[in-house]
């Protein structure tokens, strides 16, 4: 994280890539101001997932190149704390990228996606996403074609989380109460808890490999 604060390479990658993705949707839409909520929420989360996964693969390839993970593992702290630390740093990067994407979306599509629903969706999504991306990022950094491998492993696993976030954002864009809000929220929280527990346990196992 300190290396990133100095180089700002990942933040720049996230900023430019997320702006590019939202801009592509804006220029290919004949009437961006009149976009349906369903498509709008899809654009927001597709941009977040793709810019997030690209930036994360860069993050882990840097780690592999500088052998920072090996250095961190030498510290006398429980391995679970290292995992939680990585989740926290990715959570922050992702939040920055989401702020940028939502701002770009609001300007380019003349629409306001900010609502209580998206404010609930963001932390729940970020926790699950950071948890899964940390785990698969460390695995894929050891392989050739790590960028493509991370995306291939990550996206199918987090589909329930994407559905959760998209559904809540759609309700926010439409300005109506979300149907099945409790069910969606319980799904998002269930995903986070299951993957946080399971991947924390498995993290030690893959580090041993």
């Amino acid at each position: 994280m300190l290396i990133e604060l100095k180089s700002k390479e990942i933040v720049v990658t996230i900023t430019l890539f997320s702006l590019l993705v939202v801009s592509i949707f804006a220029v290919t839409s004949s009437n961006p101001s009149n976009l349906s909520a369903e498509i709008g929420s899809g654009i927001i989360w597709a941009s977040i997932v793709f810019s997030g996964s690209i930036a994360m693969s860069k993050f882990f390839s840097h780690e592999e190149k500088n052998e920072t993970l090996n250095a961190v593992l030498l510290m006398p702290v429980p391995i679970e704390l290292i995992f939680f630390g990585k989740i926290l740093s990715l959570f922050l990067f992702l939040t920055i990228s989401e702020c940028l994407i939502i701002t770009a979306f609001s300007i380019l599509f003349n629409s306001n996606p900010l609502s209580i629903y998206i404010l609930i969706a963001i932390p729940v999504f970020n926790l699950g996403f950071s948890c899964v991306v940390t785990f698969f990022g460390i695995i894929s950094s050891k392989s050739r074609s790590n960028e493509i491998l991370l995306t291939l492993l990550l996206i199918p696993i987090i589909i329930p989380l994407i559905m959760f976030a998209t559904e809540l954002t759609r309700a926010g864009l439409e300005g109506i109460a979300s149907q099945n809000f409790n069910l969606w929220l319980s799904l998002g929280i269930l995903f986070d808890i299951v993957f946080l527990v399971v991947l924390t346990f498995l993290f030690g196992k893959i580090i041993e490999q």
């Binding site: 695995i139 050891k142 491998l149 199918p156 329930p160 559905m163 959760f164 799904l187």
Partner: protein, 218 residues
């Protein structure tokens, strides 16, 4: 001897299924000829779902026992399971268009099947991209287990998303009285048996091939 007997039985079951599908079974009144795709779609859906469960079980066994034959079996099951899933998805799409008027819908079973297919494709891609060795095998087993843990969550998400798929009409999970005639049920069960025998045979051949390759690399 046993291998030849197995080949004869599974070959005969396949031929019998083809005869039943195209000649013996009556045409369904509402859907017409296209309904016969059921006898392909359901057995391959069954085979791919069994493969996914079996990959998770064999991966778990590999992580517990550390015996390489469990990993080879998991890989063979995943490869044959992915091919079965392709047949299932393709036959489902071809069936949906004339019956529902659309190629695809975001329904729970369809979404779950598609995502599980993608997870097991990623599992196989990982096996090819990661440097071979013990670490690759153990991480692949962990990925298979994560896929298995994720599947009920995917199904739950897809259930909330939309529910307009035809109800199960045959078997213990049937939610309504079966609309299939007895000839149709017999044909369906024969096709399931034939595809299962074929599936086991191909998995076995693939398992032997992978095991031989592994021995050569050692």
């Amino acid at each position: 001897m046993l291998r030849n007997l197995y080949l004869i039985i599974s070959g005969a079951a396949l031929l019998l299924s083809v005869w039943m599908i195209f000649i013996w079974v009556p045409t369904e009144v509402n859907q017409g000829l296209i309904q016969r795709i059921l006898y392909i779609h359901v057995p391959f859906a069954w085979a791919s779902m069994v493969a996914i469960i079996a990959v998770a079980i064999t991966s778990l066994m590999f992580l517990i026992t550390k015996k390489i034959h469990w990993d080879n079996l998991a890989q063979s099951l995943a490869e044959v399971g992915v091919v079965s899933a392709v047949v299932m998805l393709f036959s489902g799409i071809v069936w949906a268009k004339p019956v529902w008027g659309i190629w695809w819908t975001g329904e729970a079973k369809l979404t779950t099947a598609l995502i599980l297919f993608l997870i097991y494709c990623a599992y196989l891609v990982f096996r090819n991209y990661f440097p071979p060795g013990g670490a690759r095998n153990r991480i692949a087993a962990i990925i298979a287990l994560i896929g298995a843990i994720d599947s009920p969550i995917i199904y739950y998400a897809a259930q909330i998303w939309q529910q307009n798929h035809p109800q199960v009409v045959v078997g213990p999970l049937a939610t309504q009285e079966s609309s299939l005639s007895s000839e149709m049920v017999i044909t369906l069960l024969t096709c399931v048996l034939a595809v299962t025998l074929m599936f086991i045979g191909i998995v076995w051949v693939q398992y032997k091939t992978i095991s031989r390759k592994g021995l050569k690399n050692v």
